[in-house]
Symmetry: C2
Subunit: 338 residues, 2 copies
DNA sequence: CTGAAAGCGCTTACAG
DNA sequence: CTGAAAGCGCTTACAG
């Protein structure tokens, strides 16, 4: 039961291998009856084209790189699933690559990856999608790529994102709407463009409702649990502490929750806590987190789709914005008497 | 700056391409001076061999499949990182494949994957590593594979695991040691061989300390948070409730923690809770979880290493057991007066 | 220790 | 609409 080749199929269908190739690649100008005959032979022989032969003859690798340095396993898995789903439809393979922020410089790292694997293109997740250095290195190699949630840097490559500013504004307005005036905010990792946008959304909501912006209510975090815990303690130790804290992601919000627990502050009676991402952690902490859902899978699927298009028509200049959604759970509510 | 080929290197080094090939594949019987000349040319030209040409000529794909159906993103990422690290060293590519348990049958799913991608071999994660059906399908195709944490099914393929029985016994004995006698247990997903082993360890510890095994203290969970929450409530609603609960993984232990919170039972003063895995969640819940660390990355690295060996010498029959480690945190302690 | 030839299974470029 | 030839960049099998 050695592997069937295109020659076997051609023989079985009584055509030339070139015709089999045409059918398999959905090229036009094949007579319907011929196409059917070929497909029947493909099916009968359980034929599957050789990945390496197609790549070698076609002068491309059919390999797409998905690069990330995000510490959140859930985010990475969502993105990976989305990108993989699209790759599979097109018989591309996905190469995952984890970048070490503190390792060698990005350009060398990704450049090396591209050299070694002969990648056809890349999908860049944040914060790599905003790295000038990396983008310059890819441009130099003329490697096509698509960016997920990048900054506003002008570049011809397509991108996908979510309106982080609007999402954060909406969440903040929700907190205002249930009666909060002293609202703390924890900024995400400053290397992520989204971090700044979320902060802007928070500020915009305060302004819109005539609430004074207070610098001491805003702490710098890094999208990880520990930074939420630490910032949470700082905010909750204040004499006039916030009655609500909006953390820029769920991991940090979980940290705030723990800080509150450790201080005997009950949530949401004495403190409302909101996060961002709707990661699994949001449903695992107690109380469950109010947060913002963003469709990471869809963003990645779409980004990969755009990359595949880009490989066909290098002039593609496109971007797609996806919808977010507020998810209200038990960690937020009006203030109640102690 | 078109891609350099083996011909370019051969020309630059003044040898035949076959000699370049020998050097690149670390074949013996190459004069040192020749080897050096070739390596210098490789470096000077920044040459990287073509993945697809090697695969096509070598009659193999250099593709390894990593299949999983585990819902835990962290576990999957750890395993993926370990497998990927080993693959990269050997210029193999890793293909991730998520199996839908409730989708088409496993054999068809993975068989299709193997057919389409022409995989050289697979790494099977639990519970797939114990699937008779899947293993039969792979044997039929003569596809080499290595199993992670499989059951005791007799099979020539190599495997790696951890002594789950001993680990669970040790954790249970730790709970007994700090004074607990009424110890609840939540079983993991029954499709995982480890689930049964951990239950056995729990029972063995009770026996060893002359504590009666009580069926009503043992609940069936599925390795997911919700099942821990539910089982936790059942256990804590009992008139003579356990003073400690050992859940077979951290997600379920987090569920128990939430059940305790909802019932106003304080941990660890009134209830000790222990988990298994040392997943990130263990440090994010409150209080932080006492748990068992198991080196998922190392298991996967080693499994991949064994698969690579297996591809060279098909007779390899080997298995490696890795060490676990108890991690004591704040969720366990002696009972204290209310 | 080294090399010349053939071939892996496709696609490209061209012809009809 | 279809096909014959050449070639992608390596490894295999063989020779010396």
């Amino acid at each position: 039961m050695s592997r069937k080749t295109i020659t076997d199929v051609a023989a079985a269908a009584g055509v030339a291998i070139k015709t089999v190739s045409r059918v398999l690649n959905n090229e036009p100008k094949v007579r319907d009856s011929t196409r059917e005959r070929v497909m029947a032979a493909v099916k009968a022989l359980n034929y599957h084209p050789s990945f390496s032969a197609r790549a070698l003859a076609g002068r491309r690798s059919f390999l797409i790189g998905l690069v990330y340095e995000n510490p959140s396993a859930n985010y990475v898995m969502d993105v990976q699933s989305g990108a993989m789903a699209r790759c599979r439809e097109e018989r591309f393979q996905l190469i995952m690559h984890h970048c070490n922020v503190r390792g060698a410089d990005l350009a060398t790292d990704i450049g090396g990856l591209a050299d070694q694997t002969h990648l056809d293109g890349l999908v860049l997740t944040p914060p790599l999608s905003s790295s000038k250095e990396l983008i310059a290195a890819l441009d130099e190699r003329e490697l096509p790529f698509v960016r997920i949630a990048p900054n506003r840097m002008r570049h011809a490559s397509p991108f996908v994102d979510v309106d982080d500013q609007a999402a954060a504004r909406e969440m903040t307005e929700y907190l205002v709407g249930i009666g909060h005036r002293r609202i703390g905010f924890i900024i995400g990792n400053p290397e992520h463009y989204a971090s700044g946008r979320r902060l802007e959304g928070y500020k915009a909501a305060l302004k819109r409702h005539g609430i004074e912006y207070r610098d001491e209510y805003v702490k710098q975090g890094f999208f990880i649990f520990e930074s939420g815990l630490e910032s949470g303690h700082e905010l909750l130790a204040m004499p006039e502490r916030p009655t609500a804290i909006f953390a820029s992601n769920d991991d940090m919000a979980a940290g705030v929750l723990m800080a509150a627990h450790q201080r005997g502050i009950s949530v949401p009676a004495q403190l409302s806590v909101a996060g961002f991402d709707d990661a699994p952690i949001a449903r695992i902490v107690w109380p469950r987190l109010t947060t913002v859902f963003q469709p990471a899978y869809d963003l990645a699927y779409s980004a990969t789709d755009m990359l595949l298009e880009l490989l066909k028509s290098p002039k593609l200049d496109k971007s797609v914005q996806f919808d977010y959604r507020l998810v209200c759970r038990a960690s937020t509510g009006p203030l109640r008497a102690a």
